[in-house]
C-alpha cells in the first residue's frame, strides 16, 4: 500500500504540473464555454415547448444545426485524447530515462507502479470531467434559470461516471502500448491509430458490411450510445427500441429504465478497459527490468 500511495501521489502531482494536462484542460474548458454559450444558448429555445421535461439536460445535448457539435460528440472525441496523452508514455518514458530500474528496485510490489499510474490518470480524468460538467452546468443555470431536478442530477452523475470509464479505457489502452512498445513515439502512434480506427473506421466498416453489431466494438459508439440513452430520456428512437425489446411503456423513461437500456454498453466499456489493463499488467509483471 505504501508503494501504491507513493506512486499515486507522485503521478498525480506530475499530471497536474505537466504542460500537456494544462493544454488539455484549457481545450476542455474552452470547448465547454463555447458549447454552452453559443450552441446550447442559441438553440435551446427552439427545442423547448411548454411540455418539455428535462430542460436542464438539454444544455448538454442540444446541437443546433451543426449535427456534430454537441457536448456529447465533443466528449466522445476529447476523452480519448485525454486518456492517450496521460498514458502513452507512462512506462516507456520511465524506462528510457533510466528511472524504471531504480523504481523497481525499491521495496514495492511491481504492480504498484502500474496501478498507481493508472489510478492517478483516472483521478486526473475524473477531475477534468467533473470540472467541465460543473462549469457548463453553472453557466447554463445562469442562462436558462431552470434548476435541475433530482432525476437530472442523478443522470448527470451517471454521465460523469460513464465518461470517466470511457476516458479510463483510452488511458488503459495507451498504458498497454507504453508497456509493449519500447519507444515513446511508437506507443503514441499505436494509441492514436486505435483511436482513429475506433472513431471513424469501425462505423464505416459496419455500415458497409451491414452489421451494426460491429459498432459495439468501438468504445466511442458504446459511449455515445449509452450517454444518449441517459441524457435524452425521451429520445423517440430509444423509446421505440425499449418498447419493442423490453416492453417498456412510459415516455420518458425513468432513470432505472434508462440504465437498464444502457447497461450492456456500460458493461462492455468496463470490460474493454479491464482487458487493456490486464494486458499491460500481465506484460509488465513478467518483464525483465534492465537499464538500457
Amino acid at each position: 500500500m505504501t508503494g501504491l500511495m507513493a506512486v499515486f501521489r507522485k503521478e498525480l502531482a506530475d499530471n497536474f504540473n505537466s504542460m500537456r494536462f494544462l493544454i488539455l484542460s484549457v481545450l476542455g474548458y474552452a470547448a465547454a464555454i463555447l458549447l454552452i454559450i453559443f450552441v446550447a444558448g442559441q438553440n435551446i429555445r427552439a427545442d423547448i415547448t411548454e411540455t418539455t421535461q428535462f430542460i436542464f439536460l438539454k444544455l448538454f445535448t442540444v446541437s443546433g444545426d451543426v449535427q456534430f457539435f454537441s457536448f456529447q460528440f465533443f466528449m466522445a472525441f476529447f476523452l480519448p485524447l485525454v486518456g492517450i496523452l496521460i498514458g502513452f508514455d507512462a512506462i516507456n518514458s520511465e524506462r528510457a530515462t533510466g528511472n524504471l530500474s531504480r523504481l523497481s528496485s525499491q521495496p514495492i510490489y511491481r504492480d504498484s507502479i502500474i496501478n498507481g499510474k493508472f489510478l492517478a490518470g483516472l483521478v486526473s480524468i475524473a477531475i477534468l470531467v467533473f470540472s467541465i460538467v460543473f462549469l457548463m452546468g453553472g453557466i447554463g443555470l445562469r442562462m436558462i434559470g431552470v434548476p435541475p431536478g433530482p432525476d437530472e442530477i442523478l443522470r448527470l452523475f451517471t454521465f460523469i461516471f460513464i465518461s470517466i470509464i470511457y476516458g479510463g479505457f483510452w488511458l488503459a489502452l495507451a498504458l498497454m502500448f507504453s508497456v509493449i512498445c519500447k519507444r515513446i513515439s511508437t506507443s503514441a502512434f499505436a494509441s492514436i491509430a486505435v483511436w482513429v480506427f475506433a472513431l471513424f473506421f469501425i462505423p464505416i466498416i459496419a455500415s458497409i458490411v451491414g452489421n451494426l453489431m460491429l459498432n459495439l466494438l468501438s468504445p466511442a459508439i458504446l459511449y455515445s450510445g449509452s450517454i444518449q440513452v441517459l441524457l435524452i430520456p425521451s429520445h423517440p428512437l430509444i423509446f421505440e427500441l425499449s418498447k419493442a425489446y423490453l416492453g417498456l411503456e412510459p415516455n420518458p423513461l425513468s432513470i432505472g429504465q434508462s440504465l437498464l437500456i444502457a447497461w450492456p454498453q456500460i458493461i462492455s466499456l468496463i470490460a474493454l478497459t479491464a482487458l487493456c489493463f490486464a494486458g499491460s499488467y500481465i506484460k509488465f509483471m513478467r518483464e525483465e527490468i534492465r537499464a538500457t
Binding site: G98, N99, R102, S105, Y109, I289, A291
Partner: protein, 313 residues
C-alpha cells in the same frame, strides 16, 4: 565466529532463448565483503545482478539475499538491498531533494526522517550545494553520486553497483570509489560489477571473474595473481651491476629456486616462495652489487588478460 553469508546463488541459470547468459553460477559473498564482479561485456554480470534483485526470473537455480529468495520474496530482498543500475536515471525536472524524497516515500520512510537523511546523504556525496537544482542540469558524475545517495536512503545491508565507474572522469571515479569504500566501512556488504579492473581493484576484498556465464576464478586479488597465473610461483626480478655466470649457477642451487633467466643485467628468478633474503645473500657472497630487486605482483589486468587469452585458445 563464522562469517555470515549475505549473497548466495545456487546453480543459477538464465537463458535467453538459445543463448545462455548465466550458466550454473555458484556464488557466495559474506557479510562486510566488497565483492568485485568482473568480466567483459556480455559475460552475464548485469543479468546475475538482476536475478539477485528479483528484477528478472532465473531459468533455474536460486538466488538469495540474507536468506530471502530473490524471485519469490523480492520485496523483502529489495528492502535490504540497494541497487545502482548502470545507466541510472532520475526525474530531470525534479530537484535532487525531490528525487530522493520519492525514493524515501517508496521505502515508506516517515517524512521527517526522510528529509533529515536526505540532507545528510547529499552532504556526504558532496551535492548539498546543488540540491535545489533540477537533476537535468547535473553531469554524469554528479548523477552517479546522487545514485549512491539514492541507494543509501533505505539504509541497505547489501548494495549492488553495476559499472559504477563507467563514463565518468578520473576525479569522479575517485569520488565514487571513495564513497563505495566508505559504505563498506559502515558494514554494508557490497557487490560491484565492472570491466575496468584496475579501478575497482583498490576497494575489492575479493573478486570473481565471469566469462560467458561461468565463474572462472574467485579469490582475493593477490591470491588470484600468484596461484592462477604463475602456478603458485613467485617471480623475483633482480637488477645487478655485473651479473656473472657463477652467480647464476649459485642461484640455481638455492633451495626453492626453480629457474633463473638472464637478460642483460636483469635476472628473472622463479621460486616457490619469497626468497629475496637468500638471493641477496648469494649476491653479496659473489660481490655483486644489487641495483634493485623486486617481487613481481600481479594486477587484476594481468590476471584478467591471462584468463581471457586462455579462454580464447
Amino acid at each position: 565466529m563464522k562469517d555470515k553469508v549475505v549473497i548466495e546463488t545456487k546453480d543459477l541459470v538464465k537463458n535467453y532463448g538459445k543463448c545462455i547468459a548465466v550458466d550454473k553460477l555458484n556464488l557466495c559473498v559474506n557479510e562486510g565483503e566488497v565483492f568485485g564482479f568482473l568480466g567483459p561485456n556480455g559475460a552475464g554480470k548485469t543479468t546475475t545482478l538482476l536475478m539477485l534483485l528479483g528484477l528478472t526470473e532465473p531459468t533455474s537455480g536460486t538466488a538469495t539475499i540474507c536468506g530471502y529468495n530473490s524471485t519469490r520474496e523480492s520485496v523483502e530482498v529489495k528492502r535490504l538491498a540497494g541497487y545502482l543500475p548502470e545507466k541510472v536515471g532520475f526525474y530531470d525536472d525534479l530537484t535532487a531533494i525531490e528525487n530522493l524524497d520519492y525514493t524515501a516515500a517508496l521505502n515508506g520512510l516517515p517524512r521527517e526522517t526522510a528529509l533529515k537523511r536526505i540532507k545528510e546523504l547529499l552532504d556526504m556525496v558532496g551535492l548539498s550545494e546543488v540540491s535545489e537544482q533540477k537533476v537535468g542540469t547535473y553531469s554524469h558524475g554528479m548523477k552517479q553520486r546522487l545514485g549512491i545517495a539514492d541507494v543509501m536512503i533505505k539504509a541497505p545491508r547489501v548494495a549492488f553497483f553495476d559499472e559504477p565507474t563507467a563514463g565518468i572522469d578520473p576525479a569522479g571515479i575517485e569520488q565514487v570509489l571513495g564513497l563505495i569504500a566508505n559504505m563498506a566501512r559502515q558494514k554494508v556488504t557490497i557487490m560491484l560489477s565492472s570491466h575496468q579492473l584496475h579501478q575497482v581493484q583498490k576497494i575489492c576484498t575479493r573478486v570473481g571473474i565471469l566469462s560467458k556465464g561461468h565463474l572462472v576464478a574467485e579469490g582475493s586479488v593477490d591470491e588470484l595473481g600468484r596461484e592462477k597465473i604463475a602456478g603458485g610461483k613467485v617471480r623475483i626480478e633482480v637488477q645487478l651491476a655485473e651479473p656473472s655466470s657463477r652467480l647464476v649457477k649459485l642461484l640455481e642451487k638455492v633451495k626453492g629456486v626453480t629457474g633463473v633467466e638472464r637478460t642483460g643485467d636483469l635476472l628473472l628468478i622463479s621460486c616457490n616462495k619469497d626468497l629475496r633474503r637468500q638471493i641477496a645473500k648469494v649476491a653479496a657472497d659473489c660481490d655483486s652489487l644489487i641495483i634493485q630487486m623486486r617481487m613481481e605482483e600481479y594486477g587484476l589486468d594481468e590476471i584478467y588478460m591471462k584468463y581471457f587469452s586462455e579462454r580464447q585458445i
